[in-house]
């Protein structure tokens, strides 16, 4: 699954790294030998995305391309290949619901239904208030604690319709939420295991 289409995104005309991020970018670029700056393309795009409300406008890709002396089209190729780069605006909380077999068997369907009923989100879309974006994704590698949802950088595991619904409320309210398993499971230990 790819990120929401960029076709109709309103693109800002310009993009510039903040001084702090520019310094960080220079640091990343310095990790690679001279003439191989292009190796820094993914970390730089990530930096740009984090600075720019979690999505990458074309202007930002151009800035990265020019910094790394790459043809711009090569940066567009990289950005469009990796699903973690969003090339259109996304909500404050990007919900990546895993629907691959283990999560699906353990009830990811119910989580998708919560998204539909509670947020009105079906398929790749963003709520009107810009709070949530939904993205149906393939396996994120947390099958032991299925079903799971990734919200921005964090994993929330062992979800049910109720816990997921509460999670969404808490996110909307800006509350701090425990990351990881929502059932109190330690890491990915066996269910019910107590130290």
């Amino acid at each position: 699954m790819s990120a929401p289409s960029n076709q109709n995104a309103k693109q800002p005309k310009t993009f510039a790294f903040t001084p702090a991020n520019l310094a960080e970018a220079k640091k990343i670029m310095a990790k690679y030998p001279a003439g191989r700056e292009a190796s820094a393309v993914i970390p730089l795009l990530d930096l740009a995305q984090r600075q720019h409300a979690n999505w990458l406008p074309i202007a930002a890709m151009d800035v990265v391309a020019d910094m790394l002396r790459m043809p711009r089209v090569k940066v567009y190729e990289v950005a469009s290949f990796y699903t973690m780069f969003n090339r259109a605006p996304v909500g404050k909380h990007l919900l990546q619901v895993c629907t691959t077999t283990p999560c699906w068997l353990c009830g990811s369907g119910a989580l998708m239904k919560v998204c539909k009923d509670k947020l009105g989100l079906e398929g790749n879309d963003t709520t009107k208030d810009g709070m949530f974006s939904l993205m149906e994704v393939e396996c994120l590698g947390a099958c032991v604690n299925a079903p799971m949802v990734q919200v921005n950088d964090d994993y929330y595991e062992d979800l049910t319709a109720e816990t997921f619904s509460r999670l969404l409320d808490d996110l909307a309210a800006g509350k701090k939420i425990k990351i990881g398993s929502q059932t109190g499971r330690q890491g990915s230990a066996k269910m019910g295991h107590k130290r």
Binding site: S2, I58, V73, S80, F81
Partner: protein, 685 residues
């Protein structure tokens, strides 16, 4: 040298040779889509699979180097099964629209599906559809047909030097395009259509015009620049339908530029198809050939031979120029010039005006100094050759002149003849590079020579060449880049002022002082009509352009696709162009016109057939007998010094797409100007 066995044939190949190349050496054809012998090897289409003994899986032969004792099978059941699988996979999303596809009949996918396709599809799910991309006025896209071989992406990046195409998204969603709305801004973009193995990229002006099997294919020579690209012109009836490149390793490899490929529609417009004579009211009226000749004869009779002058234009073939020279000599006039741009540098010896290193010679060069030239528009294929050499590494390029995008990096030394003197005298940092180079080259463009001080610049460039180890046994690094296809040949047959004769500029001043009363223009169109003053102008040519507009008598000639003719390219290679279609209406081949006119003027030229004329040319200039050979010219002293004006060099071609009468009459070229040049100009303003 690895030794291996392919289908029972033992073969020894150079190290690094791929299995596919080894197979080609012994005449085994391997099907392929992504592999192209002039591009990098991505090995992503998987069509070239072969069986290699002791490997569990079929191997992509394009990317697998040959190793010692390999046993390769290219026609085993396993190979056939594997290729069938790949073909089925490729056809899953390929539409079955061959009947309406322009690639039909010359499609790699169609051909190979005959060999490896199933007779019916097993795929019942929905096929994917991809939005077409807008790539400008030359390339039509039907992206659903794309099989993602990425040849176009690699061509644009590697050979075109315009990395503007890419593959976006992944797997099922992968699409070829530019991502942002943008035309491909390369003068070589038409070749993308040729490298595309399917009908995804097709020739836009030719869309739905003809099928390959209805076309008569004629191998001929291009005249839009002095490179002399080898082309194949396809005609249906009396109409040129398209122009394609033809392989010539030493000239254009297998590419041509967009003007060569697409300006042919100018051959159908603005044509002169009957003679015209200007009447007493000053209007051009249609006439018969005898009337036109009589009008000229009336003027010539009683006129002193020294009042007659002749000029030859940029698209003229060797035959007509030589015939006109003979006629002028018969009349007794030494006033003739083939340099309508008025350049005056010394052309007394061949080495002074040839591209001496040769186009293929660029690949041996390790330092190139460009002077007053933008080879990208003046000789696109020479620029592509320099880029090819640069890609291999170890080439240093310096430029004296206007800074332009050449598609490879260069050291800009400045834009003034002063810097040329600096290099010649060893005062420039680039002199060190030239001194250290094994095969240094200097390329002198028209921008450096089309000046009042062109003679002195030409001389300094010779000094520069001699001082920098460019002239020695086996290497000549002194190069003049001609702009016109007809120029080198005309200089070779000596269509320059004879003893006491007037050159281009003197002809014009002679007109002003009434010393020149009749000017014969053989395809001369790049001159302001005012310069002809009150002179009687005879224009022989194929398009109603500037020359014909001013003319008092028009003799309709043949364009390059309408005559058998010799052209000499900038490196001094004689190439034979062949007639594709007949000249329109009453137009005739140019040498015939001159021969017929000579009879009316009472100085009948001593030949009746083209063969006899060619024999005369060879008698006078024996090297014309050596068709398609790059002949080296002996190095003798030439040129003379003079005062150099410090004004910067100006580039002669501002508009690549419209440089001559044919491209000015072409609608496609006008569209190119709109799509490629206008946006750039607007951006600059």
């Amino acid at each position: 040298m690895p030794k291996l066995k392919i289908n029972e044939t033992e073969i020894e190949v150079a190290p690094g040779t791929s299995i596919l190349q080894a197979c080609e050496q012994i005449g085994i054809e391997i099907p392929r889509f992504c592999y192209h012998d002039r591009l990098s090897v991505p090995a992503n289409c998987r069509m070239c699979l072969v069986e290699v003994e002791k490997t569990p899986k079929p191997v992509a032969s394009c990317a697998m180097p040959c190793a010692d004792n390999m046993v390769v099978k290219t026609n085993s059941p396993m190979v056939h099964k594997a290729r069938k699988g790949v073909m089925e996979m490729l056809l899953i999303n390929h539409p079955l629209d061959c009947p309406i596809c322009d690639q039909g009949g010359e499609c790699d996918l169609q051909d190979q599906a005959m060999g490896y396709g199933f007779d019916r599809g097993r795929y019942t799910e929905a096929k994917r559809a991809v939005k077409d991309k807008e790539l400008g006025p030359l390339i039509k896209t039907i992206m659903t047909r794309c099989i993602h071989c990425t040849r176009c992406v690699r061509f644009a990046e590697e050979i075109g030097g315009a990395p503007e195409l890419g593959a976006f998204g992944r797997s099922e969603n992968m699409e070829i395009g530019t991502y942002i709305e943008k035309c491909v801004t390369s003068e070589l973009s038409g070749n993308l259509v040729d490298v595309c193995p399917v009908g995804a990229l097709t020739n836009k002006p030719y869309a739905y015009k003809a099928r390959p099997w209805e076309l008569t294919k004629t191998e001929t020579i291009d005249v839009f620049d002095a490179v002399g690209c080898n082309i194949r012109a396809d005609a249906r009836g009396q109409e040129v339908m398209r122009v394609l490149p033809r392989l010539h390793e030493e000239v254009n490899e297998e590419w041509i530029n967009d003007k060569t490929r697409h300006a042919y529609d100018g051959l159908k417009r603005q044509r002169l198809d009957r003679p015209y004579v200007r009447n007493a009211q000053g209007k051009l009226v249609p006439a018969t050939w005898p009337e036109a000749f009589a009008a000229i004869a009336r003027q010539v009779q009683g006129m002193a031979a020294s009042s007659i002058a002749a000029m030859a234009g940029d698209l003229c073939a060797v035959e007509e120029v030589f015939a006109l020279k003979m006629l002028m000599q018969g009349l007794g006039s030494p006033h003739m010039d083939c340099r309508q741009d008025g350049v005056q540098y010394d052309v007394s010896t061949r080495a002074a005006y040839l591209f001496n290193s040769g186009i293929a010679g660029i690949e041996q060069a390790d330092a190139i100094l460009l002077v007053g030239t933008n080879p990208r528009v003046e000789a696109t294929l020479i620029n592509a050759r320099i880029r090819k050499r640069w890609l291999r590494g170890g080439l240093k390029v310096g430029l004296i002149g206007e800074a332009v995008d050449l598609s490879y990096p260069y050291q800009h030394l400045g834009n003034s003849p002063r810097f040329l003197e600096d290099v010649a005298l060893g005062r420039s940092p680039f002199s060190t590079i030239l001194k250290a180079a094994k095969n240094p080259m200097v390329i002198l463009g028209a921008g450096a020579l089309q000046r009042k001080d062109g003679i002195a610049i030409h001389f300094r460039a010779r000094q520069l060449a001699e001082n920098n180890n460019m002239i020695r046994e086996g290497w000549n690094g002194f190069n003049v880049l001609q702009l016109a296809a007809g120029r080198t040949g005309a200089l070779d047959v000596g269509f320059v002022p004879g003893q006491g004769g007037r050159g281009t500029n003197d002809i014009f001043s002679g007109i002003q002082t009434d010393h020149v009363k009749l000017v014969y223009l053989l395809g001369v169109d790049e001159i302001d009509a005012k310069k002809f003053g009150r002179a009687f102008v005879v224009y022989q040519g194929h398009h109603g352009d500037r020359g014909a507009e001013r003319a008092d008598v028009i003799l309709p000639g043949a364009a390059y696709t309408e005559k058998n003719a010799w052209y000499m390219n900038t490196e001094g290679r004689v190439q034979a162009a062949r007639r594709v279609v007949f000249p329109p209406g009453q137009a005739r081949e140019d040498w015939k016109i001159i021969r017929a006119l000579s009879e009316s003027l009472g100085h009948t030229l001593p030949f009746d057939t083209q063969a006899q004329l060619r024999k005369k040319i060879i008698e006078a200039h024996p090297h014309f007998a050596k068709i398609d050979e790059k002949l080296t010219a002996p190095w003798v002293a030439f040129g003379r010094d003079g005062v150099i004006d410090p004004i910067p060099f100006a580039l002669p071609i501002q508009n690549f797409y419209q440089t001559d009468v044919i491209s000015r009459a072409s609608i496609t070229m006008a569209k190119c100007v709109e799509a490629f040049l206008m946006p750039a100009r607007e951006a600059a303003e």
